[in-house]
Subunit: 347 residues, 4 copies
Amino acid sequence: MQAARLHEYTDDMSEALSIDDVDRPDLERSDDVLIEVEGAGWCQTDNHIVEGMWTDYVDQDLPMTLGHENAGIVADVGDEVTLVEEGDPVICHPVQTCGICRPCRLGEDMYCENQAFNGLTTDGGFAEYVLTTERAVIPLPDGVDPTEIAPHADAGITAYHAAKKATEALNPGDTCIVIGIGGLGHIGLQCVDAMSAADVVAVDVKADALELADDLGAHHTVDSSEEDVAAVVADLTDEVGAQQVLDFVGRDETTALGPDIVAQGGDHHVIGYGGHVHEPCQTLVFGEMSYQGDLVGRYTELQELVALVDRGDVELHTERHDLGEINTVAERLEHGEIEGRAVVLPP
Amino acid sequence: MQAARLHEYTDDMSEALSIDDVDRPDLERSDDVLIEVEGAGWCQTDNHIVEGMWTDYVDQDLPMTLGHENAGIVADVGDEVTLVEEGDPVICHPVQTCGICRPCRLGEDMYCENQAFNGLTTDGGFAEYVLTTERAVIPLPDGVDPTEIAPHADAGITAYHAAKKATEALNPGDTCIVIGIGGLGHIGLQCVDAMSAADVVAVDVKADALELADDLGAHHTVDSSEEDVAAVVADLTDEVGAQQVLDFVGRDETTALGPDIVAQGGDHHVIGYGGHVHEPCQTLVFGEMSYQGDLVGRYTELQELVALVDRGDVELHTERHDLGEINTVAERLEHGEIEGRAVVLPP
Amino acid sequence: MQAARLHEYTDDMSEALSIDDVDRPDLERSDDVLIEVEGAGWCQTDNHIVEGMWTDYVDQDLPMTLGHENAGIVADVGDEVTLVEEGDPVICHPVQTCGICRPCRLGEDMYCENQAFNGLTTDGGFAEYVLTTERAVIPLPDGVDPTEIAPHADAGITAYHAAKKATEALNPGDTCIVIGIGGLGHIGLQCVDAMSAADVVAVDVKADALELADDLGAHHTVDSSEEDVAAVVADLTDEVGAQQVLDFVGRDETTALGPDIVAQGGDHHVIGYGGHVHEPCQTLVFGEMSYQGDLVGRYTELQELVALVDRGDVELHTERHDLGEINTVAERLEHGEIEGRAVVLPP
Amino acid sequence: MQAARLHEYTDDMSEALSIDDVDRPDLERSDDVLIEVEGAGWCQTDNHIVEGMWTDYVDQDLPMTLGHENAGIVADVGDEVTLVEEGDPVICHPVQTCGICRPCRLGEDMYCENQAFNGLTTDGGFAEYVLTTERAVIPLPDGVDPTEIAPHADAGITAYHAAKKATEALNPGDTCIVIGIGGLGHIGLQCVDAMSAADVVAVDVKADALELADDLGAHHTVDSSEEDVAAVVADLTDEVGAQQVLDFVGRDETTALGPDIVAQGGDHHVIGYGGHVHEPCQTLVFGEMSYQGDLVGRYTELQELVALVDRGDVELHTERHDLGEINTVAERLEHGEIEGRAVVLPP
């Protein structure tokens, strides 16, 4: 089968992956599930993986097929699988978990001590087939198109996870700032809106993105290339600040906004991750604020997101590309030219 | 009356404060309470105030009497005060709150929008008398000596507050690291122990401090000047890390430990505040960890700490000094020569 | 001034209260606030008070002016009041709290140890003026009419409080059942909808009420006089049950539904209170369910509800009556003839 | 092998079970684990099962081997098991869970939609061998004796689960009442003490039980056959009541204590389950209290309890009996003659 594989780390996205002919994966365990891929989202993390930014954090054996946002049709199942059968449409949680270690038993899929992560530590879904397990697939409700929903497998779940943590601390009358209305941010904004009665303030540097935020229900939009974000937030919140900030950008200049826009006792969620957090301890203490990292999300959170999609509470902006165009997609995302989310279609 | 007052910001602790003769404060409102000070703790924050480190965060009118860890005997009360009467021994929460703004109504005393903070924004307790309000005093149980308990008004409540946040996330079998077994840390360690069944690992660079930690119930002690803290923690926790870290030091080198010692999903609490947090966003994301600032504590938390003291769960290590020695105390703390906490006694 | 007062407990609502001529209350404390009443809601609890159902729970000195759902214009303030001034429109939390006891310091207004409760333990708002305190009034946003919002002072806050507790446990895809779409229930339904992405199932015996529920966004309605509620819920939830149930009726037959409709680990909130809870312990254990009583709500929750109203998330169905018609209102509510909420207007 | 099996429901404990000769169970799935039983606790629930009290709640095929509190040595494992191997000492969570349904994914083992429960819905551990699964076994730390720890598999985990829920709401200075210092209660008391700084008040009718409570650290003991529990609690708590009550008895007379001993906003946990809850809704509303059913506990809670045992925070009082004496054990428990917990040893 064809698969888009990373052979060498590089900063040149025009030669990020090569389309190779590889063997279709075989079932190995009683709970394995083979998926015929219908769509796989391209993510900023894919760029980061290509650049080698994950080598300090996880083990990667190259060449490796990338692709961690996968949805498709069940093609084959191990002999003890009961959740799905051949022909079922599913969305794939990116992590295959053991179900045995303590994090798994707590429902903390992302901390599984024996995990494989498609497209990060094992072959992913930029291919005709991807191998996963029963604990990583979620059957789709009738009428939900796998290609359409694929980006929720990572962009969606990550945005939902952060939004859910934020909404637990948001009361009616509170303010939530969403920084970066791109692939993740435009989902996060809708999740906050669906799950709370807080006012959402959207921040971006692109007019298109702010317009999208406005369409999706943001109560206020701020162009941070032209306006003083801190001053706008102070004005909107009677000098109190925002109880929660979702930073889907994670550059030095966005994390630096934290102390000026977060209310005392609030949190600056770090989801995007190109830059650094750099602040005096005294600033964190005086504001009793946190910088809170957020990592993808739980299997059950992907179930909840599918329910939101099924209710019509979250819509996804996507563009579709053939597998052969994958390096073009990588380049365009690098230059901020993707609107919403790019989905790659296997041959 | 005599009062130790700050006239000018300085880095020279030998001339930090001058002992002035000032008027005894008058009651002004129906809920005012005048306290005859029995003891007032000297805090690292006092050094920071003297250095001018708080001028960016709050308004300060100099000269100002310092002292935010106060306990004493009620000397006079406003005409609508019911909680205490003349002669009652009390400990003083450092913040006088309005009881009207939304943070006050939520029980979040530290975020009061109309607050005065003894020794930080208004006159404090290094004096014969200090003026406070009904909402800032807590009557002491029989047999509790105001001089003895005074440091709990800030060192204690701050350590308790951070420990309480940590214990909410700690299960039996989990690990909590306490960095810095000084004035706050030796209290925080005992609070974690009293309120959870987690194992406490104490980290310091001084043998005396580690011995104290051991006496107070630490399950393991690490001398970070000699041992590799991350390696020890990995070994003690089967490579999982500590679910919670309480950093009572807050220097660059202690915050830098975070990613190597915090378990995925855990928190590095920043309580001490001389240094910075400086980390890649990716590190926070991958570890799903936070840097969480902690700011003093709630009035009700001071009540809870008094209950802990009354139960015998928390003991305080103090040394006593006359008001006239106050600059010597400031210097000795600057040089790390105070064991436990210094309490200043008015004439 | 005129006031509708209870002189004797009775089951005959046609002579529940008498309109007396009484003195206008005087300010007594520095934080007192006198309100010129613009509207006061009549509540099922007023019927219960008239029947003497509260004598086992609180002390009542008759005669007493009833009315605990009050809004109006500030007429006079004590000399230390800063939150409001003469002429400000406000809604009144029904409880005047001390701000000093531990429950107050925790933000738990309903448990204040030194409270007065208008229309329950002290004179209420079925009168031209009602006396309250600074800690019990909330200034209204521009454009909000006191007469219109008055019922939120108790019906609203009680429904909001229960809904907020429920939504803390509700995830997207979960189900919340609202039993009784009357004065409280029609608010509760909207609050759940605004603060969560759970599906709301409305249960009532009146077609009008179910139609209202449908208009207000219920995902499903059940006529419990004709349908088997448990069977419908099992069907809607794939046999799982509802994670949360809000029982605004509180009769024997509604509490008895609990074990058949609550999911394992869920809660049956008891808000209405005419009947009993009567179940085998084994049923509670096997379902790991609770019967959870809910009592009015916090001051900050009334602030949050006002924010919901201001956002347009909650609309109130009211009918208006003159003070002289008050016993007719009492009778009509007793017979289930009030649609939404009745507001009594002073002369 | 020999197994103690229930053939017919009966109220006569002298003929509760018969010792049959049955086949040793075979491994069927890749994750099955066969245990050679070293000890199995006899529980009040076993009496209730014999009486037929569970037939309305679960499906039971008789004859069935009882025994849901099991520990032993791994005798054989399915071919995909990695957590344990032959010869490992383990304690068994009573429920075999699927690891696939939503409750499992949330960590809520007790709500697994595809569960088997040893000794309740499938054969249990009053036998030489018991069949379970990888997700139901916990390896024991070095030096922990399976026979000694067996009762923690249900008595322990149930007491721990309830205690953990209670301690989440307990602050220093609060009060927790433990009703019934028997097999579960004496563990619950120690768990509350280890995980909180609340004062524990133990209530029982037997002098021996109260003495044991005293030895185990109860701050106060009440003989409810002689003292007025409500009056004692009011006195101990300054009329506030206990924030949490753990009712390990669950008879009509113990649940009836709730409204008189629970503080406003508190919970009466129902763990024992012979009787009923019967209260006016108004009582639940006015006290804003709950009756909260508690059902066994999570797998991860059994891990945490094992950690508590390993720390020395919880000791277990047991007596040992041969399998042949099992009906005598049943009778003695029925008559309240078992001190602590009875452990049955296979031949």
